[in-house]
Amino acid sequence: MDGFLHQVASGIATGGIYASVALALVMIYQATHHLNFAQGEMAMFSTYIALTLMHAGLPYWVAFVATLVISFAMGAVLQRVLLQPLANAPVLAMVGVFIGLLLIFNNTAGWLFTYTLKTFPSPFGEGGPVLFGLFSPHELGSTCVTLAVLLSVWAFFRFTRLGLAMRAAAFNPVSSQLVGIPVARMLVLGWGLAAAIGAIAGMMVAPIVFLEPNMMAGVLLYAFAAALLGGINNPLGAVIGGFMVGVIENIGGAYIVGTSLKLSMALIIIVAVLILKPAGLFGKTLASRV
């Protein structure tokens, strides 16, 4: 029983990481109806920036905040320079651009920072297990950070004028433009925010899996799965989906199929859910207009 609870706990901890990447994906999806395949690689790159800043002597939280600012700028610039001109391009061309970005980030990181594994410090200390001995300090800390991010994103969209404007711009760009919302600027902002959220996820996952250019490849896949499971148009659903995928993956890997097939098993479960509920567990089914 104790072992089982441990598996659930570490599932929740990794699930938190999936949840934050899924949240970043869903945010961009809501604003643009594109899935950013380069999201994970952007997060990985941000994590390297954080590590570089720390090696330059900045304390953890200063580097953390600086990384968020840099990542925000990076996401915003990418949107403005690369994606805005392609706003009317076919979907397939957009996916092509995302794949190009993925390759560029991955390879540039390998070139600038080498492919060797690097340790990334955790701000929550080493220490023994806490909270009934179920979580390591980092697991607990990173789960709290994920929840805090989720809460602030929710509050931002729910209670601020800017959040409302962003929702409006995504929901109905033409009408929003007419009532004076700068829709193009909202998209830039959305990309910046998503990049910053991704950066947090990267900095939280790096102490667990070690930092290397392919660190996020697996995470991104699980995040996609989480976003699908929860419903791609529902941020809260994506987060719940993230935690569920983390727990399913851990329990299945430990008790049912063994670690060699845990990825396949998690994916089978998700496909099964989607067959029964194609819009995801919490997603809205959109009726198409005739």
Partner: protein, 321 residues
């Protein structure tokens, strides 16, 4: 240009593509061209389901793997002749494609893209799985010997393999072209553009979509079979997510919903990485990514789209796009 003239030119061009490399290229170059043929078939398969039918698949590497492993297992375990493995691979892929097409009916757009991406991600794990090791050779993979030219033809193994692959691909390309311009092809495009209208016109969406998936799996799977023969080796890690993404890139760069686009795309995914490697040894992937993005800016409808724009005679009779 008169239609008959352009048809004759096309036939001459195709014949030249089949014959010239055998004598003009050798060794490694010929091997690369054989791979281009297999990629072209696989990209064409992807094009069927994604370009023509609008079901975005990022998991066609799975069918490629099924084709390649079918060939390898049949030749390694049962000593069957290499040519007999191609129809078996085609049938197996058709069945798998059809079965995957069934749940795919429930997903639309990006949901399907991500589910198929997940399929692609699971392939290496499944190939390495212990229970299948007797068949798949596990992490070690399987070696495939290179077939010799039959009937005492004065060709070496490389030359014969190119000719064989080219012939197989040619037959399938002609079939694909006929499918695309005919009634079924129009139904496929109608489903992509206006599913509701298509259904109202009496097109059976489920039937066409699942069968398109099956046909597309056949093309990609046969491409995988040919690639296994050319490379002479199959191993789980060569069928990773990157392969599926590469095929997708080939389709987008070549031009979606275009038969000739598959050839352009195959040339791109085979040779542009080499070019990128020559430009920068340090970060070839980044150079490749930049080239890819530039392509998307210059030619959002792919190389075939560019060709159509600059060579009006090359325009297909029924507008595809």
């Amino acid at each position: 240009m008169h239609p008959a003239t352009s048809r004759i030119l096309l036939i001459i061009l195709v014949a030249a593509l089949g014959v010239v490399p055998i004598f003009a290229a050798s060794g490694y170059t010929l091997f690369q061209l054989t791979l281009v043929v297999s990629y072209a078939l696989s990209v064409l398969g992807m094009n069927m389901v994604t370009g023509y039918n609008g079901q975005i698949s990022l998991g066609h590497g799975a069918f490629y793997a099924i084709g390649a492993y079918t060939t390898a297992i049949m030749m390694d375990h049962w000593d069957l002749p290499y040519w007999s493995t191609i129809p078996v691979a085609a049938v197996l892929c058709a069945i798998t494609g059809f079965l995957i097409g069934l749940p795919a009916l429930r997903f639309s757009g990006l949901y399907l893209a991500l589910t198929t991406l997940a399929l692609a991600a699971a392939v290496p794990q499944l190939l390495k799985y212990n229970a299948f090791t007797d068949w798949t050779g596990g992490v070690q993979g399987i070696s495939v010997f290179k077939p010799e030219a039959p009937f005492g033809l004065p060709l070496n193994a490389d030359q014969w393999l190119y000719l064989f692959s080219f012939a197989v691909a040619l037959v399938l390309f002609i079939l694909a072209r006929n499918l695309a311009v005919g009634r079924i092809g129009r139904a496929m495009k109608a489903i992509r553009d206006q599913p509701l209208a298509a259904e109202a016109m009496g097109i059976n969406l489920a039937k066409i979509k699942t069968r398109t998936f099956a046909v597309s799996a056949v093309f990609t799977g046969v491409g995988g079979s040919l690639a296994a023969l050319a490379v002479g080796f199959v191993a789980p890690d060569s069928f990773n997510v990157l392969l599926s993404i590469t095929l997708f890139v080939g389709m987008v760069v070549g031009g979606a919903a275009s038969i000739s686009g598959a050839v352009f795309g195959a040339l791109f995914i085979q040779f542009v990485p080499n070019v990128a490697d020559q430009i920068s040894k340090a970060a070839p992937g980044a150079v490749y990514g930049v080239i890819l993005i530039v392509f998307m800016f210059v030619a959002p409808a792919g190389i075939a789209g560019l060709v159509r724009r600059f060579l009006p005679t090359a325009k297909a009779p029924a507008r595809s796009g």
